[in-house]
Each structure stands twice: as structure tokens, then as C-alpha cells.
């Protein structure tokens, strides 16, 4: 099929606006997935995605579509995640496409990631096809959506297609628009083969599998390929496309989206954003890659069982390959032994990675309290970066500490204005300016310290606005702030893994909340255990872990001895799963739980 009959597009939107559901209908309409094997949210293939009902990874799929013009087109679709933590996934998918279907939930209207993702698409010069989705909902407000499209996104309302992924409305209109409005693949005339690596995966049998968008030339099994960033050569073992399952084909040609299996076995050898070319006739210019993303949140991850260290290391390597936004390096902790400092784009990202380590790699891990990256100016003008509270120098050595801020775009209904302003204040933020989005909504542009929005900002925003508020953010500047290290003592011993850097004015409140939450999460103990928060040795908050009151089996006859032993054995093994801090056993997921506000 010639490249001019190929269309590459992705589906982008704010979280939950129905991207994956609409993709289901498109898969059905094009008979890509047979009805009998079709499942809801089909492209959300990871267990975690299915369970949580959110997309975490972009998922590519190749389809054929007989258009109304009588020609048969090859369509490469990518379903993308909507959550702000995974916006990096969206940018990578956009780089592999010429068009984007932008969904707007008819009942929610334009939200923060609608704007953010639309801007990403404009910046990559993609053709954007606006779709008002979920029009089956009784609360759908088409008029408002169309107006927002023009006012906020400057897209003419006439371009909008009305659809419902759930009810199967507008599917054909969308496919026709893709064929007519999205331009055919670009840069196909480049004289040498070039393929952009937009993702990769580690397979225990086949090694590293690169997900690629071919821009020019062809690549087939047996070719000697070359990674342009390193010059490393490797023989191509297999090429194929996503149907959506990986399906082997003879060769990948210009405009195609597919995968390449090669001799590359080591996860560190391939980098997302790299360009693959052919070794015997290499290209001279790389395709535009992606700007490096900088993780914003760090925490230590440690194996609960110290003998799992190597297993954890391998797991991190594989996850990193599949997720370029995730970084790690080794570190150690007094309380936890040897582990890794890991960087994430946000808390959801952090939670998902931890969950994947536990499930997909079967390593039990414990995480430390998350931290952002601080800039610490020491006497003599030396500046160091601190992403782990343990490494904060003595107060005597510090001239000042600077903390990262974010520039946030917060979309809210007008009537929530007062409460949201108060929330921003509470979080040590300032409102830079206010823009009217339409008659009922405003957008606040705020500067907020990153460490304040990590934990519960988004939840609070949602609850104040009854679900109608949303936020997008990018990293802003560093600013000087009165920050101190808060230690947590369990049974009078400081536990380094629980230390955090907080604003002095907030220390007491945070200390109290943390002690309270820890006291609640740590299962009742056989003896009195105090949880304390301290700054520079001074206790600022305390709470007690519940004392166990009753743990005894009533009846023990002769016949119950073996049974009873099994029960006690289970209890003993359960304890082993927890981490021992002195005499106190703490469940390994304690910190993820601490961060979750009810």
C-alpha cells in the first residue's frame, strides 16, 4: 500500500473523556478485532489499566479502512493516556503521527489537559480533528462545548464532529475526517531509511523490542540496522505491526507504525527518541526526538527482602526501557539497606511504577517518603541538588534552600473561585492572573511550590469543584524558601526513610498529620509504640500506634495443635512481609498509603 494511502493519528483528551472507549468502536468498525474477542477498553491491555480504568501507556494499532472515496486506507491509531503524569507518553505518540483526534467530554467541556494536549499537537504541527464525545449523556452541553472550542482552543466550531464512543455514534464521520483532513505521512522522500523509536519493551525471549514509526525507506528481517545516537549496529530479526497484538510482517515501509526485534538484548542500549537507520546506507540527520523529561518527584525504593536487590535492579531496567520518563540510580539507607533513588513525573506515575514492580516483576518493595529536588546553597557559594532529605546538609552549612515551583493552569467554574484561591494560599501559592474561559468558567494561572501540590492538591480541587475543576502544570522556577528537615521517630528511633523536607510554617501540621496517619497504618503492636515528628531534635508532634488488645484463639484441643500451628505460621510469615524497624513491623506499602488522603 503506498504511503499516500496511510494515515497516522492519535486520540488525545483530558483524562476520562472516552479515548479508549472510542478506540474500541473504531477497532470494531474496521473489523480489526473480531466481535467475539472484543472486550471493553480493549487497548488498555495491562492489568493495572483494566483495574483502574485509566490508560497508562500509549497503545498503537494498525487498521484497514475502506473509505467512501472507494480507496482502502491503512490507519495507524494510537490511544494515549489523559492523566497529567503521563503527558510525556502523549508527546511521544504525537511525534509519530500527522493528525490528532481531540476528544471533549460533552458533559465536562474543555478541561486542563484538553488544552495542554491540544497545544502539544499544535506545536508538533499536527492536524487536529475536534470531536465532542459522550453526546449520549443527558447532561451533554453541546452549545457550551462548541463555544469553548472556539474561545479556548481557537478551533472553528464547524470542524467539530459529534460522537459517542459508548453508543457508537459518529464513528464513521471520524474515520472519514481522518482520511480527508489528516495529511499523508511526511518526510517519505528522505533518501535513506529512518525510523523513530517512540517506545520499547523488554521481552524475556526476544530481548528488546523497539516500537517505531517509519518515516522513509524500508526495514526487514536480515537487515543490519544502526542506532544513530550511538552508531551501534545490530541485525534485524523480525519486523511487524500491532493488530493490536504484535503480528509479524515482511517489511516496514515509509509511514508505517510497527515494531523491530533485533539483536539488542540489553535494556540500556536502546533509547526512546533515537532514530534507527540502515547500516549500509545510513541517514545523516536524526529525526527530531523528544526533549528529555525531567522527573519531578523522587523517592527511594528498597526490596523488602534484601536478597531481592538484583531482581529489583533488573525490574527497574526493564521498566525504564518501557518508560523513558522514569529514572533511577542506586542509594542506601540506614533503615532499609541497599536500594534505588527513583524519579517520577508525579505521584500517580510513582504509584503505577511501584505497582508494576510488585506485580509484573514480583518484587516486594518499600518506598520512602517522596521528595522534590531542592537546590541548597552552602557557605562559599557551592550549590548542591538534594532529592533525598537524608542528604540535606547541617543547618549550619546552609545559606539558603531553594525549592521548585510549578506554573499551573487551573480551570474552574466561577463559583469555586473563592475556595480555590483559599486552597492556593494554603498551599503557599500565588495567583498570577485570571482568564475568563466563558460565561461560567475561569482559568487561574498560579505559581505553587511543587512539594505542596504532590499530595492532595488534585483531590481537593476535584472535591471543591464537584469534579468540574482540572489542572495542568509545567515546572517553573526555583525560589528561596524557609525549609527544614522533619524527622520521624518510630519507638524513639529516627527512621531515615521517613524524613521529609517541609516549610517551617507547615511542619507542625504536617508532622501531626503524618504521625496520625502512620499510627493508623501501622498494625496494632504488642507494646506501646510512639510515632513522633521532630525538627532539629525537638519533638513537634506525636501519636501512638494502637496497642493490640486481643489476639488469642479460644479453643485448643489436641486435634487443634497442627491447625493452630498453621495459623501461627501464617501470622509469622505475614510479619516477615513487613519491614522491621527496631521492634516495630511496618507494612511495605505504608508510604503510598500515607500519601493517600481518604
Amino acid at each position: 500500500m503506498p504511503a499516500k494511502l496511510t494515515r497516522n493519528f492519535c486520540i488525545i483528551a483530558h483524562v476520562d473523556h472516552g479515548k479508549t472507549t472510542l478506540s474500541d468502536r473504531i477497532l470494531e468498525h474496521t473489523n480489526t478485532v473480531a466481535m467475539r474477542v472484543m472486550t471493553d477498553q480493549h487497548l488498555d491491555s495491562m492489568d493495572l489499566e483494566k483495574e483502574r480504568g485509566i490508560t497508562i501507556k500509549s497503545h498503537p494499532v494498525t487498521m484497514t479502512y475502506p473509505a467512501k472515496d472507494g480507496k482502502i486506507y491503512k490507519l495507524n491509531l494510537m490511544d494515549t493516556p489523559g492523566h497529567v503524569d503521563f503527558s510525556y507518553e502523549v508527546s511521544r505518540s504525537l511525534a509519530a503521527c500527522e493528525g490528532a483526534v481531540l476528544l471533549i467530554d460533552a458533559a465536562q467541556g474543555v478541561e486542563a489537559q484538553t488544552v495542554a494536549n491540544a497545544h502539544l499537537a499544535f506545536a508538533q504541527k499536527l492536524k487536529v480533528i475536534p470531536v465532542i464525545n459522550k453526546i449520549d449523556l443527558p447532561s451533554a452541553n453541546l452549545e457550551l462545548c462548541l463555544k469553548q472550542l472556539e474561545d479556548i482552543l481557537t478551533i472553528p466550531a464547524e470542524e467539530a464532529i459529534l460522537a459517542s464512543g459508548k453508543a457508537g455514534i459518529g464513528i464513521e464521520d471520524i474515520l472519514e475526517a481522518v482520511v480527508l483532513r489528516v495529511p499523508p505521512p511526511r518526510w517519505t522522500e528522505y533518501p535513506q531509511a529512518r525510523a523513530l523509536v517512540f517506545d520499547s519493551l523488554y521481552d524475556s525471549y526476544r530481548g528488546v523490542i523497539a516500537y517505531v514509526r517509519m518515516f522513509s525507506g524500508t526495514i526487514k528481517a536480515g537487515d543490519m540496522m544502526m542506532l544513530m545516537s550511538t552508531g551501534q549496529r545490530s541485525e534485524v530479526k523480525e519486523v511487524g505491526v500491532f493488530m493490536p497484538k504484535m503480528t509479524k510482517i515482511a517489511s516496514l515501509g515509509a509511514g508505517d507504525v510497527g515494531y523491530i526485534v533485533s539483536n539488542v538484548k540489553d535494556t540500556s542500549e536502546i533509547k526512546t527518541g533515537d532514530t534507527i537507520t540502515l547500516a549500509h546506507k545510513p541517514a545523516t540527520e536524526m529525526l527530531p526526538g523528544y526533549k528529555e523529561v525531567r522527573p519531578m518527584v523522587f523517592c527511594g525504593l528498597y526490596p523488602v527482602d534484601t536478597s531481592d536487590y538484583e531482581k529489583l535492579k533488573a525490574a527497574l531496567g526493564r521498566l525504564r526501557l518501557n518508560d523513558a520518563a522514569f529514572v533511577y540510580s542506586s542509594e542506601s539507607s540506614v533503615a532499609l539497606g541497599f536500594g534505588f533513588r527513583c524519579g517520577f513525573l508525579g505521584l500517580l506515575h510513582m504509584e503505577i511504577i511501584q505497582e508494576r514492580i510488585r506485580r509484573e516483576h514480583d518484587v516486594d518493595i518499600i518506598s520512602t517518603y517522596p521528595s522534590v529536588v531542592y537546590h541548597v546553597i552552602k557557605h562559599g557559594g557551592v550549590q548542591i541538588e538534594v532529592d533525598n532529605p537524608v542528604n540535606l546538609p547541617d543547618p549550619g552549612e546552609i545559606v539558603e534552600i531553594r525549592e521548585p515551583t510549578i506554573k499551573a493552569a487551573i480551570h474552574i467554574p466561577n463559583d469555586a473561585m473563592g475556595d480555590i484561591m483559599a486552597l492556593v494560599m494554603e498551599k503557599r501559592g500565588t495567583v498570577d492572573h485570571t482568564d475568563t474561559l466563558d460565561a461560567a468558567r475561569v482559568m487561574l494561572t498560579c505559581i505553587l511550590p511543587l512539594n505542596e501540590i504532590l499530595v492532595d492538591f488534585n483531590d481537593r480541587l476535584k472535591s471543591i469543584t464537584h469534579g468540574y475543576g482540572s489542572m495542568d502544570y509545567e515546572l517553573g522556577e526555583y525560589r528561596t524558601s524557609d525549609l527544614v528537615k522533619m524527622e520521624i521517630l518510630v519507638n524513639n528511633d529516627p527512621v531515615d526513610a521517613f524524613a521529609s523536607i517541609v516549610h517551617r510554617d507547615k511542619a507542625e501540621g504536617k508532622g501531626r498529620a503524618l504521625c496520625e496517619k502512620l499510627a493508623e497504618i501501622i498494625p496494632p503492636q504488642m507494646f506501646k509504640v510512639a510515632i513522633q515528628a521532630a525538627i532539629g531534635g525537638k519533638i513537634i508532634a506525636r501519636d501512638n500506634v494502637k496497642e493490640m488488645r486481643k489476639d488469642v484463639t479460644a479453643k485448643c484441643y489436641g486435634g487443634d495443635i497442627s491447625r493452630k500451628r498453621k495459623l501461627l505460621d501464617k501470622q509469622k510469615e505475614g510479619k516477615k512481609k513487613m519491614k522491621q524497624f527496631g521492634r516495630v513491623s511496618i507494612p511495605s506499602d505504608a508510604f503510598i498509603k500515607v500519601l493517600k488522603t481518604n
Partner: protein
């Protein structure tokens, strides 16, 4: 011991050996019950009695039996003739009268004829499953007896003049208040039994109650249970019943010897489906199914389930785990020489820690749990297990 008949005096000086017989028949199934039991039929009972005789013949009886316990199921459900037959099989292994012979009874099936048969056989101790005096709670437990039946049965049992009479009660029943439970205890005390067992309701897997729990229709409340435990202990102490184990109380001289010997890790032979044995170097149980048990006995096989060798370390470990449930505690100085290879350093460290936390008391070679410690006996038990599985020892 001067008051005991001579045969019993002899038995008292021998190494204790228990004989447990599991009689797997009940009229109906209680909601909380996890014991193996089935509906009695004439044919089933006959085969059971044959099986017991056959199984008894397979045991190496080098020592005479000192205590007997018939549990179930409801042994008291057998016809007088069958009780006599079972008794004959048992007596043959005792080398005279045992020190103690307990039979479990259900209030609904206590008759004068049955009691006469038991008395005639030499039974010394009657244990009756009352559970509660409150009609509504009895119903909630799926118990097939009434308040009136309890009183009638108790009068009959007393009239039969057994040396010792026990009543079983249950607490922390769904919906039961502290006051209701205190009333049950008062009512039981008013009957003046020699022994009382008060069991906190346990949710055993595969019971009707467990199903309710997993459906969220009843809830566990350890705080409430702890309060009930404490008030029971206080109430019974005032009434003159000394606690000797987590759930057991007795007037002086009426503690259940058979159970004490079990918890002290002596030996016992278990006959019947699901019965456990700890004897002749092995611990284990029979299969919990009448037909399968009969089939295996027919092939000369017993103690086929969870069979483990009875090492001295296992005994020492369990003597601690189960001994600490008793108020008297455990005599470590007796166990150390019997099992010098056990990880005593780790055990000592654990016991010192428990003592430091006010959960245990050390007194010469003895260690016992405090009231608070006894309420945590399972946690303590799992720590004892952990101490015994310290790497140096296992390797």
C-alpha cells in the same frame, strides 16, 4: 491423693497417656461448628463402632491410658447400648480405671438411660455444651436446644453423680451485649458446675458463620472481645472459679487433666475420623471422613494427615506455645535438658522482651503470661515460632 481409690492412685504415678475418641455424629449442624460430624444412622454408628475397635487394635499400647476424652460430634447422642460397646473397647486399653474420663453431651439428648450407661462404664466427667441461656442467641447459633432442656439435662447429669461436671459457654456472639453475656455467666455459676469453659466465638473457615462474616453480615470487634474476656475473668474469679487456661476455669481439683496433658505436650492416642494423635514418635490426624477413615483403618493405616515426626524441639516449641496459654505457664528448666539443641538464647531474649513489656512474668525456671499477655497468646505464639525458626537453629 489419699482419697483416691487405689487403681486411680496407681494411674496417677504413670506417665500420662490420653485417649481421645472422636464420635462424629450430631443431630444438626451448629453455625459456628468446624468439627467433623455427620448425621447419625443406625448403619453408620455400627460401622463407626466396628472401626474404633479395629483402629484400637492397630495402636501400640505399651503404656496404659490415664485419661479418656470422648468428643465430637456429640458422643452423648449414641444409644445406651452403643455407649456401652464403645466403653468396653476403651476400658480394655486402660489397665484399670483411668484417672479421668470425660464425655461431651448436648442438652437436647441427655436421658437418664444414657447417663446410666455412661456411669456404669466408668465415666467420671460430663461436659455439656450449653453455649448460652438466651433463646434468641441459641437460635442465632443454630443450636438445637432450649433453655428448659438445659435445666432438665443439668439436673439429670447432677443426679447421676459424676465426679466433675463442666458447662461450655460461648461469648462475643453476634448481637450479644456485655450485659447479656454477664447474665449468661451468672446463670451458669448459679448452677454451680465444677468446671466452666467460656469460649470466645471463633469464625472457622467452612462454617455458616464464616460465610456471614465474609459477606459482611457480622463484624469482628477485637476491642469488644477483649472487654468480654476481661469481664469474664473477673466475674468468674469472684465466683470462686480459678482460671487455669485462656478459656477454662475450675473449682480446686476439677481442672481437666486430659486437656492439661495435651497442652503440656504429653502423649495421646486419637481414635475415630479426624481424631489427632501425638504418640509413638508421631503427630498427625486421621482423615476427617467416616468412609475414608474406615477404608484406611481396613488397610491398617492411621494418622495419615499432617503427619510429622515428634522431635524434642517441636515438643519444646509447642510446650511453650500451648503452655503459655495456661495460667501456670511453662517450666523451662524441665524442657531445657530434654531439648538442649533448641535455640534457647533466642527464646530467652523473646521472653525477656515480653516480660519487659508487661506481657510475661519470669519466676525461677518458670515463665507465664500476665492477663494482658494471655489475651495476646497467639501473637506470643507466633513469636515463639519465629524464635524457633532462627536460621542458626534450622540450619
Amino acid at each position: 491423693m489419699s482419697g483416691l481409690p487405689t487403681e486411680q492412685a496407681k494411674a496417677a504415678t504413670r506417665a500420662p497417656l490420653g485417649l481421645y475418641v472422636h464420635v462424629p455424629f450430631c443431630a444438626s449442624t451448629c453455625d459456628f461448628c468446624a468439627f467433623y460430624q455427620t448425621q447419625p444412622t443406625a448403619v453408620g454408628v455400627g460401622r463407626f463402632l466396628d472401626g474404633i475397635a479395629q483402629e484400637a487394635a492397630l495402636v501400640d499400647w505399651s503404656e496404659p491410658v490415664t485419661t479418656v476424652f470422648w468428643g465430637g460430634g456429640t458422643p452423648g447422642l449414641l444409644a445406651p447400648r452403643d455407649l456401652a460397646r464403645l466403653a468396653a473397647t476403651v476400658r480394655a486399653r486402660c489397665g484399670g480405671a483411668p484417672q479421668e474420663w470425660t464425655v461431651e453431651l448436648a442438652p437436647a439428648s441427655v436421658t437418664e438411660a444414657r447417663l446410666a450407661a455412661l456411669k456404669e462404664a466408668g465415666v467420671t466427667r460430663a461436659s455439656m455444651g450449653v453455649q448460652s441461656f438466651q433463646p434468641a442467641l441459641l437460635e442465632a447459633l443454630g443450636r438445637a436446644h432450649s433453655r428448659e432442656q438445659i435445666y432438665r439435662a443439668y439436673d439429670r447429669v447432677r443426679a447421676a453423680e459424676f465426679a466433675s461436671v463442666n458447662l461450655d459457654l460461648m461469648f462475643a456472639l453476634p448481637g450479644q451485649t456485655e450485659a447479656e453475656w454477664a447474665a449468661d455467666v451468672r446463670e451458669a455459676v448459679a448452677l454451680a458446675p465444677d468446671h466452666l469453659s467460656t469460649y470466645c466465638l471463633t469464625f472457622e473457615e467452612d462454617t455458616a458463620l464464616w460465610v456471614k462474616l465474609s459477606q459482611g453480615r457480622v463484624k469482628l470487634d477485637p476491642e469488644h472481645e477483649a472487654r468480654l474476656y476481661e469481664s469474664t475473668w473477673a466475674q468468674l474469679a469472684t465466683a470462686g472459679y480459678a482460671q487455669y487456661e485462656v478459656s477454662n476455669f475450675a473449682h480446686p481439683g476439677h481442672a481437666c487433666l486430659h486437656n492439661l496433658n495435651t497442652w503440656r505436650m504429653h502423649e495421646w492416642v486419637g481414635l475415630g475420623p479426624s481424631a489427632a494423635s501425638q504418640h509413638a514418635g508421631w503427630r498427625g490426624a486421621n482423615v476427617a471422613d467416616l468412609d475414608q477413615w474406615l477404608a484406611r483403618i481396613g488397610r491398617g493405616e492411621r494418622v495419615t494427615e499432617d503427619r510429622v515426626a515428634l522431635t524434642s524441639a517441636l515438643r519444646a516449641e509447642d510446650a511453650l506455645i500451648f503452655g503459655l496459654r495456661m495460667n501456670a505457664g511453662v517450666d523451662l528448666s524441665a524442657w531445657r535438658p530434654r531439648c538442649p539443641e533448641a535455640p534457647w538464647t533466642a527464646v530467652e531474649a523473646l521472653l525477656d522482651r515480653l516480660a519487659g513489656d508487661g506481657l510475661a512474668q519470669r519466676d525461677g525456671g518458670w515463665v507465664r503470661l500476665t492477663d494482658r499477655g494471655r489475651l495476646l497468646a497467639d501473637s506470643v505464639g507466633s513469636e515463639v515460632m519465629a524464635a524457633f525458626s532462627t536460621e542458626a537453629f534450622v540450619a
